[in-house]
């Protein structure tokens, strides 16, 4: 991972392995279909490695083939899979944590402001 790349909440909680980064990317895409090369570029891994991981996920029925556009096979998250439902729920909880963190930061800034005003 490059220095400038931001770690997502999903990887912060579940660990920064290749598999988790791949899953995080899939969950971020939601219901959009995607190509293997796009994922490889986004998470900064080689295409052969991305194809390897894709094959594993296809076997586990986490992703399925959706359509072919100009010779490129596109895939999509398998909504019917129990694994994907669980992953989506946990991803939703990760996003809830992000919102709560942001709210708590806001409150602490406001408290600091109030104290400064009181102190004059």
């Amino acid at each position: 991972m490059k220095k400038n790349e931001q770690k997502g909440m999903f990887c912060q909680i579940y660990g920064d392995s290749l598999r988790n980064r791949f899953l995080e990317c899939l969950l971020q895409l939601g219901n959009l279909d995607f190509a293997v090369g796009d994922i490889a570029r986004e998470i900064n891994i080689s295409r052969p490695k991305a194809y390897q991981i894709m094959a594993i996920f296809e076997k586990q029925e986490i992703i399925i083939k959706s359509r072919i556009v100009s010779g490129t096979q596109l895939y999509v998250l398998n909504k019917g899979s129990v694994h994907v439902k669980v992953l989506r729920q946990s991803f939703k909880e990760c996003l809830r944590l992000v919102v709560e963190e942001n709210n708590s930061q806001k409150k602490s800034f406001e408290q600091i402001k109030e104290r400064k005003e009181i102190e004059g």
Partner: protein, 91 residues
């Protein structure tokens, strides 16, 4: 909500691109609209522009190298609304 819009919101929220932390807009839009047809793209662009007008996103022009690019992040005041929208979509 359109699929690319949902995907953009999920990405920005997950990676903490809120308020001052921002991401290049063009890079994000291209990655999410790459495989869309003409009509789908038009519908998405309309929705995206309406979200910008409603201040769901913060758009800034940032110096990058020799030129400047538009960068985007989530408006912290609209964070709860965005989360509710995403939650409803997923369910």
């Amino acid at each position: 909500m359109e699929k690319p819009t949902e995907s953009i919101l999920l990405f920005l929220l997950n990676k903490h691109y809120i308020g001052g932390k921002h991401f290049p807009e063009h890079k994000l839009l291209v990655s999410r609209t790459k495989w869309l047809g003409k009509e789908e793209r038009k519908v998405f662009e309309k929705e995206y522009r309406s979200m910008i007008d409603q201040n769901y996103f913060v758009r800034l022009k940032k110096r990058t190298g020799k030129s400047a690019e538009w960068h985007i992040s989530i408006n912290p005041e609209k964070l709860k609304d965005i989360f509710e929208m995403i939650k409803d979509e997923k369910e």
